[in-house]
Amino acid sequence: MPFQRRSFLSALAALGLPALPVAGAHAQAAAAPTGTPVRIGGSLALTGPLAPTATIHKLVGDMYVESLNQRGGLLGRPVEWVLKDDQSKPELTRTLYEQLVTGDKVDLLIGPYATGAILSAMGVAQRYNKTLVHHTFGIPSLAKYEQQFPAWSMGPEPQVTVPNMVLDALAASSKPPKTIAVLTSKFPSVQFMSYGAREVAKKRGLQEVLFLEWDIGNRDFGPIAGRVKEANPDFIWNGVLGLEGNQLLDAMKKIDYQPRQHFYMYPAPGPMLKAPEAANALTVTIFEDQPPFTSTPIAAAFAKSFNERATQANLPDTHAETQAAASFAAWQIIEAAVIATRSLDDKKIADWIKANQVDTIEGKLRFNEKGNFGADLSKLKQVQNGRWVVVWPAEFSNGAKLSV
């Protein structure tokens, strides 16, 4: 298909390799884009508490737009990313998206960082009948607008599918757990997942020995760690966001407790790797900087490029993973839709995305289930010897096994 060939050649070009002659096709040199720019507008939390992760999305966006322009832009025109800082405030997100649509009059939209902000942007998109492709929406049940599409493919019921995947992996290991402790912060996008995990665990016959919830700003995890130690579960499900996972592990280490099997919902990936007590920690992923994810040229190019830029930007963690991949996939969806419909019309683009599957570095994405979500493409990865290793499902584990 012309589409794939072009991507292949573009990837080669991005890697700095000369376009090799391919049988039956002529090499297309990347023509410099001309004309009025195609403007894609969005906001990110460049300052404020959400800034650490939003930095990754800015990096990926810059990377993608640059490469896109090198490959000839969109519809032959250069692409411009109109980016604003919403300072981690959803009400500002709403205002900025309205500005983008009515003031800056951008052609297309791309989503901001995190569920709260995306909901604000979604509201604006809905009012102006714009299509919104976003990358970090964590609560599928709240996605109620037809013209919005998630790049992070977690499926419409991740609170069921993810715990099932995790427990499947554990059941297939040499030490399947019999007791479970569920610890969760009350942050909306992790809490519902943890509640789902409790249900799933009950259905599968695990005994819940402890259930604790804490407030988002909690600093002292000592008592929680103490209660876990006393309950001594086989498996701990940690509904955590960012540093909370490390804080928990820290607290457990201080009282000489090493959890046996432990899973973390959305940990900050870098700090997890560096802490020795995080050995065997599990979490979800949709992309890792290792085969088979990096088997396709585009994915390999993406991972390499991200690595270079992250190192340049002095980020402590330079390997591409879920956040970066979801961001990249969002751009891929937009590009694919624009090329396929040969237009910038929001309705046409939305209709096309809904009816088709898009090839991204996560795999083939579809959008035909509830909330425009598709398959749950989550995999399970584990900290092994200071590296993230995908351990489940087998097709992606590259031979690695879940360590117990």
Partner: protein, 626 residues
């Protein structure tokens, strides 16, 4: 707090130039015109991208202005505005999603819920005398955390947040954003109208008095508890209203975003930046800071934007310590004050001479006159020290009663307890036949008792005229604003201060400040006037003028209690004299006979000394008025 401003020449501002009439109406008219003009914008082509931007501006104007009603006007800085805002947000969120109530109906309920919470908080907090200043700030902050936790852990939210996307936005304008624009404009207009009306009202001047000196305000008759409560209720209600609107604007309500420290901190900053003593200060600050925040949303200079914001904040406060509006007002006020002084000086110069020249008609008081004030076993202890130890006193109508005694004998304490400045530890007080001892000080003032302070305590940010007018408004006379100002002019002329009517108290010298105390006390039209060492620190000619004044006051029918050390004045003025010693009443009678008693001499001089009496050193002659 803030002692650095005393007599520095950079006088801090009060509501100078307020007049009860035209000032307010003009401002309200201006606000109305502005509001109508702004409301028309979405219909006449306001670019849609501006609708949400201006929504934010109006939103913050309403929040900052409402915060200022209690915290700026009355000086009770609160860190709890987030709590009231949050209650509004959640009231609307829950009512619209779980009870399917139309959005518009939830708004008044949101305001009401917040106002109730605020009032409940205030009802408890303001009762406790020690809850002032930073303690009140802490209390409101703690209340916010408690509220946030309750909402997070109960079915009100429980964690997942409340999603309002299915709630219909009222169609007030062509777009949803336009509707929110109008709603926020309405809230901001409401907040500003309330701020203006309060600013010009009796209520407002009472609040400003509370800010300057709450204890004195209470003694002058301002019902401080009630006023603070009303201010808090208004403040929290408006914040709740704004919250209700915001709930639908963001459409996804979570505790993390609603109850953080950002909101309470931001409203403080906006109000201080603009100027807390002016009704429009917070609005100016809100516009400035929102503009700064929005001006730096481009991705390229996100971080640089924060630096500029910080620099601007620092710069404005260092160079304009009264806020943006305060600095601008100073220039205007100084001009007005000079004009006012010049005009009044022509009037005032004659008054002082007249006051000094009129001969005092001294009528001896009638010993059978009815008792006006009676105390029985009145006691007051401070941490075990008995300042007043069971004092029985009778004060008759129309007399001038002297309270004498060595330092620390309890004279000032007596005045403080009777006026309500301190709460009595024991005993009873009866005034005009009614018991007084446990009454709140402002009720004591209403009953007809007024006092001056030994070290003058005028309200530092109110003009001389406003100081006196306040007394007339809240004292026994209980006059309306306009009448009170007219009355104030009278008393300023009487005390010779008419030429300084527009000045701030700290530009007066000691004599003038003491006479300001007089004017203030008299404007309350008291039946009983208590003077606490009013002559201390005055020169002999000033003392003569003061004594003449006191005689004229008594001639007008006021009963006077007179704590003093200047013996010739005591001898000249007092019908009767009471001697206090170590909290107890030692002697009572006419000046000459009391001063001759050996135990009185001993109390004063601390030793047995026959023949020598304090009275001996003074000739009980008539004091010349000129």
């Amino acid at each position: 707090m803030g002692g650095a401003h005393v007599a520095s020449g950079r006088e801090s501002l009060g509501p100078i130039g307020r007049r009860a009439d035209g000032g307010m109406k003009r401002k309200l008219a201006l606000l109305l015109v502005l509001a109508i003009a702004l409301a028309a914008l979405p219909f006449v082509g306001l670019p849609q991208s501006w609708e949400s931007i201006l929504y934010l501006v109006f939103h913050w104007i309403a929040l900052a202005t409402s915060w200022n009603l209690l915290s700026g006007y009355a000086g009770y800085f609160s860190f709890g505005h987030g709590a009231f805002f949050g209650i509004g947000m959640y009231t609307t969120a829950v009512l619209t999603t779980r009870f399917d109530m139309p959005f518009a109906w939830t708004l008044p309920l949101a305001a009401l819920a917040a106002a109730l919470f605020g009032s409940a908080l205030g009802a408890v907090a303001f009762r406790v005398r020690s809850v002032r200043g930073e303690v009140f700030a802490l209390l409101t902050l703690a209340a916010t955390f408690v509220l946030a936790t309750v909402i997070l852990n109960t079915p009100i939210d429980g964690g997942p947040g409340v999603y309002l996307n299915a709630v219909a936005v009222p169609t007030l304008a062509r777009t949803a954003s336009g509707s929110f624009y109008l709603l926020a404009l309405g809230a901001a207009a409401l907040a500003l109208v309330v701020a203006v009306v309060v600013f010009h009202s009796r209520f407002g001047i009472g609040l400003f008095a509370i800010r300057d000196d709450e204890d004195v305000a209470e003694v002058m008759g301002v019902p401080t508890y009630r006023y603070k409560l009303v201010a808090l209720a208004l403040s929290s209600g408006i914040a709740g209203l704004v919250g209700g609107v915001q709930a639908l604007f963001v459409a996804y309500v979570t505790t993390a975003d609603t109850f953080g420290i950002a909101l309470p901190l931001t409203v403080v900053l906006m109000a201080v930046l603009g100027g807390t003593r002016h009704w429009a200060g917070p609005a100016v600050g809100a516009i400035a800071i929102t503009a700064l925040l929005l001006g730096f949303t481009s991705a390229d200079n996100a971080i640089a934007g924060r630096v500029v914001l910080g620099l601007v904040l620092i710069g404005v406060i260092l160079f304009l310590p009264d806020g943006l509006l305060g600095g601008w007002m100073k220039r205007g006020a100084r001009v007005r004050r000079l004009e006012g002084d010049a005009a009044a000086r022509a009037v005032g110069a004659d008054e002082i001479a007249a006051a000094a020249a009129s001969p005092a008609l001294r009528e001896p008081s009638n010993p059978d006159a009815p008792v006006l004030l009676r105390t029985r076993k009145l006691a007051k202890s401070f941490d075990g020290v008995r300042a007043l130890d069971g004092v029985d006193v009778e004060i008759r109508r129309g007399e001038i009663l002297g309270l004498l005694g060595p330092n620390g004998s309890g004279k000032s304490t007596f005045i403080n307890v009777v006026s309500g400045h301190y709460l009595a530890s024991g005993g009873q007080v009866e005034f005009d036949g009614r018991p007084l001892a446990r009454l709140a000080a402002h009720r004591v003032a209403r009953s007809g008792i007024a006092r001056t302070y030994q070290i003058p305590r005028p309200f530092a940010h109110l003009t001389v005229l406003e100081n006196v007018a306040l007394s007339a408004m809240f004292g026994a006379g209980s006059l309306g604003r306009r009448q009170a100002e007219a009355e104030a002019w009278e008393w300023l002329r009487f005390t010779g201060l008419a030429s300084r009517a527009g000045s701030l108290p700290d530009s007066l010298n000691l004599h003038q400040r003491k006479f300001l105390e007089f004017a203030r006390a008299l404007a309350a039209r008291p039946q009983l006037l208590m003077l606490d060492e009013v002559l201390s620190g005055l020169t002999p000619s000033e003392i003569d003028a003061a004594v003449a004044l006191i005689e004229r006051i008594r001639a007008g029918g006021t009963t006077i209690v007179f704590v003093e050390h200047v013996m010739r004045a005591v001898a000249a003025l007092c019908d009767r004299v009471l001697i206090f010693d170590r909290g107890e009443l030692l002697a009572s009678g006419s000046f000459a006979e009391v001063m001759a008693r050996p135990e009185v001499v001993r109390a004063y001089l601390g030793q047995e000394d026959e023949g020598a009496s304090p009275a001996g050193a003074v000739e009980p002659e008539a004091v010349h008025a000129a």
